[in-house]
């Protein structure tokens, strides 16, 4: 077929596609305001044009024509295969079943990350009772003094100094710090897992130093009611971001029958889904910490009771949810 005939025959289709792509490129989302037939015919027309491009190349038509078809195919490809947003039902299903199932599938890594966080906490906490100066390996004196004043039972404000409008300030502070820490714990996994291990152990030691020190000087009565509630979400979330990071590190160390890079790509697809869950858990934690844990109107007994329920709730959620569907 002569090139001119070829062009004449298909010009109308190409024009339609070009106009459609022009509209699509301007739009943020693929939504209603497209010419009615065009949207429905898009995949079919796109395949047609792919065919034209292959023909044009094979028949060695002029380069301007090939370039034009090339651009049409490239643009069409971008729109046909573009990512779809999350549907609400997908999000709900993820948190009702997908996320706990993912965590259960990584049970070994979970217990490893769990140990990496809590063993240093325990060791540091207990060591304080015998060698009080150990606390200075983690904190300098000024920080320690400010921590002491925060949790002083005789002090006016437990937790941190606050008036009512500063609750939101602390909410922002917790969001920025805690989610930042867990993102670092996750990302550090890319360094063969070393970064995740470091952040887990470091945070464990830090937490152990403060908890041990405050217990030793008798401030435990204010400290533990404060942390028990949001700790259920915050500490578990840090363990889980460790799981996500270690998963990537493990894929690099033990890639199995894949190349290391392919194993890393597969692992990171799973890890990022765990991180989605971690983000939500930390949001909940920040909310509890800012508006519940710090409240002084609530007696410690209630805080312990609610905190215990929250821990049980988190454990039950991760252990039980979504089992029926998976089976």
């Amino acid at each position: 077929m002569k090139q001119q005939d070829f062009e004449m025959q298909h010009e109308a289709l190409w024009q339609r596609m070009e106009n459609l792509l022009l509209i699509l490129n301007k739009q943020r989302k693929a939504s209603a305001s497209l010419p009615a037939g065009d949207a429905a015919d898009f995949p079919q027309n796109y395949r047609q044009i792919c065919h034209h491009l292959a023909l044009a190349r094979e028949r060695q038509y002029a380069t301007y024509l090939i370039d034009r078809l090339d651009k049409l195919v490239l643009d069409g490809h971008q729109h046909l295969y573009r990512a779809r947003g999350f549907l609400l039902s997908q999000v709900l299903h993820f948190f009702a079943a997908g996320f706990p199932a993912l965590v259960r599938a990584e049970a070994r890594l979970f217990w490893l990350a769990f140990a990496l966080l809590y063993l240093p906490t325990l060791v540091m906490g207990v060591a304080q009772q015998y060698a009080p100066q150990m606390v200075y390996t983690m904190l300098d004196h000024a920080t320690l003094v400010s921590v002491e004043t925060m949790y002083d039972p005789k002090g006016a404000h437990i937790g941190r100094e606050r008036q009512s409008d500063s609750n939101f300030l602390m909410f922002g502070h917790y969001i920025k710090n805690n989610i930042g820490i867990s993102f670092q714990t996750f990302a550090g996994g890319l360094l063969y897992g070393l970064g995740s291990i470091f952040y887990l152990v470091y945070n464990g030691l830090f937490f152990g130093a403060i908890a041990g020190h405050l217990t030793r000087i008798g401030y435990g009565t204010t400290f533990f009611p404060f942390v028990v509630g949001h700790g259920a979400f915050e500490l578990t979330a840090i363990v889980l971001s460790g799981v996500a990071g270690l998963k990537m590190g493990l894929a690099l160390l033990l890639p199995g029958d894949q190349t290391r890079l392919a194993a890393l790509r597969d692992a990171s697809q799973i890890s990022i889904r765990i991180v989605y869950g971690v983000i939500v858990m930390l949001l909940i934690a920040a909310f509890i910490e800012a508006f519940w844990s710090s409240s002084q109107a609530i007696p410690p007994a209630v805080k312990y009771a609610v905190g215990g329920l929250l821990w049980l709730g988190v454990a039950a959620y991760l252990l039980r949810m979504g089992r029926a569907r998976a089976a």
Binding site: Q60, V73, A83, I175, L190, S268, I272
Partner: protein, 227 residues
């Protein structure tokens, strides 16, 4: 593998040609984004400072959101490009050429933290220089690459000479070479043009100016300007 074109075969059986972007242009895009983000921070800080501690809390939340999610939101909702990337004509795609989605964008942007180590994208730069597709670590893990959005071909002019069919049929890459030669005519010196043209016509020994002219004529015929 010396040039930066990568061919990707689509499910429809045609090859897409994408041109991967290197460290310099990507740093520039990052710089533009940094300026934009700083602008937003300053504006936010000025506005929210009126609101006392509540404003400060809001500021911290927005700081967190912008710092981590600014690139993600733009990449997912604005055709794979942050404003900086858009300005530099870049976009992010999956390895198979499809537009970047939530998971891949989240992975590459959260892992940005490791690329930033030990300071100012040290690991990222080393990784980019070692990788044939200029991927930083986040790109490797996410399976994404940064490519040029458009091959800059719009509005190139070739010398206006009467079109003339080539004396014998040319293969596609030969056609491209001739057209590229004509497109570059305003950036090459006449001597250099003659030199290049003489490679083609070395066996015919015509007077130099005619050979250049003849190539331009062939190019304009190939571009579809029938005489």
């Amino acid at each position: 593998m010396l040039d930066t074109y990568r061919a990707i075969e689509t499910p429809e059986g045609v090859d897409l040609r994408l041109c991967v972007a290197g460290p310099v242009v990507r740093s520039l895009a990052w710089g533009i984004d940094l300026l934009i983000r700083s602008g937003i921070y300053i504006a936010l800080a000025t506005a929210l400072s009126q609101l006392g501690k509540f404003g400060l809390g809001l500021m911290l939340v927005s700081l967190f959101l912008i710092e981590w999610f600014y690139p993600v939101l733009f990449e997912v909702y604005r055709h794979g490009a942050t404003p900086g990337k858009r300005r530099m004509g870049l976009c992010v795609t999956h390895d198979d050429g499809t537009p970047v989605g939530w998971s891949a964008s989240m992975i590459r942007n959260l892992l940005r933290y490791v690329d930033f180590l030990p300071f100012l994208y040290g690991f990222g730069l080393v990784s980019m220089l070692l990788h044939p597709d200029f991927k930083r670590l986040g790109d490797i893990a996410a399976g994404t690459r940064v490519v040029y959005r458009e091959t800059k071909k719009n509005a190139v002019s070739i010398p206006a000479v009467p079109a003339q069919p080539p004396p014998f049929s040319l293969a596609l890459d030969e056609q491209r070479a001739v057209i590229n030669f004509a497109e570059r005519s305003n950036t090459l010196s006449p001597e250099r043009m003659e030199e290049l043209a003489s490679i083609v016509f070395s066996h015919t020994r015509k007077q130099p100016n005619r050979t250049v002219n003849q190539l331009h004529a062939t190019a304009s015929w190939l571009m579809g300007k029938k005489s």
